[in-house]
């Protein structure tokens, strides 16, 4: 296996050790080896923002801890939910006396571990409220929204909620903003090649050369169609059709767009994809006011990309423009 690792079982821990050495100005260790917090602790009275999820999605999740974003993160094994204990410790690390918002993605393991952790925190008297991202419109029909997976749209949720907390919002407001951000976000991914978890040593799904999987999940979960590889224009069309038909976007709408590579796709190809996403939006009278194009939410070395679109109101627009600084995202403010 041509990978830069030591013991395949220790990959998640080894990576955390490295990121702490590389970025001590952004991330700090806690007493729990799988929990990191923002290096610059925020003042008392701020709502704490916590996220967490499996490793292998870097810069997600730990790359969205920092000023104007999350305060603490729980890191799992590759593609596996963090433990209940990790989430619980992350809650404690993000407790500044105003409660904690846990903003994570809709996966069975994460749901269960967060649920247990919220129970444990309640015993300590710490109020934790949750928003679970379900932005992947390809993962279930709209009528079964609660079955949809959370993917790169989570970044919009963290950004908005982090800014709201920064602005002094209380727990109710932060939760409401996070929920609004994710409710107004739709995402779709296209997979072009599989990925290999080091401990497994071989891919646990396959995408044939010349084929693409539309609607693939962040761990290779099956999509809605396997078909011959399309042009970038065609891929953008397929993804945007799904996203735009799912919610009623109207001419005159402002949106935020995030195009993320899944790991191995050259960044220049993400720019190409974005050009078509931009054109499709503008043809419909929709204006992309915030644009993020890069590797934001990956799946190890999978090839492919995801597109996320968030419909904005004045509040979300303001919150997305709010300054933020982390490994995965820096916004300088307008």
């Amino acid at each position: 296996m041509n990978r830069i690792i030591n013991d395949p079982e220790q990959v998640a821990d080894d990576a955390i050790r490295g990121v702490l050495l590389a970025y001590p100005d952004i991330l700090a260790a806690t007493d729990h080896p799988r929990v990191l917090r923002a290096a610059k602790r925020r003042g008392e009275g701020k709502v704490g923002i916590v996220t967490g999820g499996g490793s292998g999605h870097e810069p997600a999740f730990l790359g969205f801890v920092g000023a104007g974003l999350c305060d603490a993160v729980a890191c799992g094994e590759i593609f596996a939910s963090p433990t209940a204990k990790s989430f619980h410790e992350a809650f404690k690390a993000a407790d500044f006396g105003a409660g904690v918002a846990c903003l994570y993605g809709n996966y069975a393991g994460d749901n269960m571990n967060v649920k247990m952790a919220v129970k444990l925190a309640a015993k300590d008297g710490l109020e934790v409220r949750t928003v679970v991202a379900n932005d992947d419109v390809a993962s279930a029909p709209r009528a079964e929204r609660d079955k949809r997976r959370g993917v790169a749209g989570e970044i919009m949720m963290w950004k908005a909620a982090g800014a709201c907390s920064d602005e002094g919002g209380d727990l109710g407001q932060v939760i409401a903003v996070a929920q609004k951000a994710i409710d107004n976000t739709g995402s779709v991914g296209i997979g072009l090649s599989a990925c290999t978890i080091p401990a497994a040593g071989k891919p646990n799904f396959t995408i044939a050369p010349g084929m693409m999987e539309v609607g693939i999940g962040h761990h290779g979960e099956p999509g809605i169609a396997v078909m011959p590889v399309e042009t970038a224009r065609g891929m953008a069309g397929l993804m945007m059709d799904r996203i735009l038909e799912d919610q009623t976007f109207a001419s005159g709408d402002d949106v935020a767009v995030l195009v993320s590579g899944l790991g191995a796709t050259p960044v220049m190809e993400l720019y190409i994809l974005y050009s078509h996403v931009d054109a499709i939006l503008r043809e419909r009278g929709i204006t992309p006011r915030h644009r993020f194009v890069g590797n934001y939410f990956t799946s190890l070395e999978m090839m492919g990309a995801s597109v996320s679109v968030t419909r904005l109101d004045g509040e979300l627009d303001r919150l997305l423009a709010h300054p933020a600084h982390s490994l995965g995202l820096t916004v300088l403010g307008r």
Binding site: E77, A80, T83, A84, G109, M116
Partner: protein, 220 residues
């Protein structure tokens, strides 16, 4: 009072059963992963083996512990060190089983029934799996039902445990014909039919070891 009276076992004497649970999971870890690999991601044995091995070390360090203390340590270890679905599911399973023995220092048939009920409720409360979804619930539900029925029929604690064990094994065997509705295997839909469920397999091992341990001690 002796360890076993024929219809109850002292919780202190039952503590070491935890090592039997650890032993069977660690021993069968390869088989559990193999079963998971047929429909899931093939890591059930790895997840369980890691958690139970860690719990075993903590228990050995603890030295003396009662059955509920041991179950609590096991549950706590799973919650603390095993992510994914199994950590919280088995974690809360063992934690809540331990709590069901709060008010006693001996385990008899009614306590066992209460313990099983609490464990099942914890799993279902957290994971929402229904019977037929092809999970460990498909072992727990028939096991509980069989134990309760045996009790209603006036069977002894030991005989009821034997009945439960058989029901658990039948429940496991029956998962072969089910289509997975939750967990990773559910992605496969119809293709998940025809193989055992990994969680159901580990749950059967756990219930059997528990039953065997108690039966041994009932007449010790």
């Amino acid at each position: 009072m002796s360890a076993g009276t024929g219809d109850s076992v002292s919780l202190a004497a039952a503590g070491p059963i935890l090592f039997d649970l650890v032993a069977v999971i660690v021993r069968e870890q390869g088989r559990l992963s193999e079963i998971d690999g047929q429909t899931g991601d093939g890591d059930h044995g790895v997840n369980m083996g890691k958690g139970f091995r860690m719990a075993g070390e903590r228990l050995r360090a603890q030295g003396e512990f009662t059955l509920p203390q041991g179950l609590a340590t096991l549950g706590d270890t799973l919650l603390s060190d095993i992510g994914g679905s199994m950590g919280p599911l088995y974690g809360t399973f063992f934690t809540d089983m331990a709590e069901a023995l709060d008010d006693t220092d001996r385990i008899d048939a009614p306590h066992f029934a209460a313990m099983l009920k609490a464990g099942l409720a914890a799993v279902q409360g957290l994971g929402d799996a229904k019977p037929g979804d092809k999970t460990l619930v498909d072992v727990l539900v028939p096991a509980r039902d069989a134990f309760d029925a045996a009790q209603r029929e006036g069977k002894s604690f030991a005989d009821s445990l034997a009945v439960m064990k058989a029901a658990a094994e039948a429940g496991l065997e029956a998962t072969r014909d089910l289509v997975a509705k939750v967990g990773r295997a559910s992605r496969l839909g119809e293709r998940s039919r025809g193989t055992l469920d990994a969680g159901a397999a580990s749950c059967t091992m756990i219930l059997s070891a528990l039953a065997d341990g108690l039966v041994q001690r009932l007449h010790a």
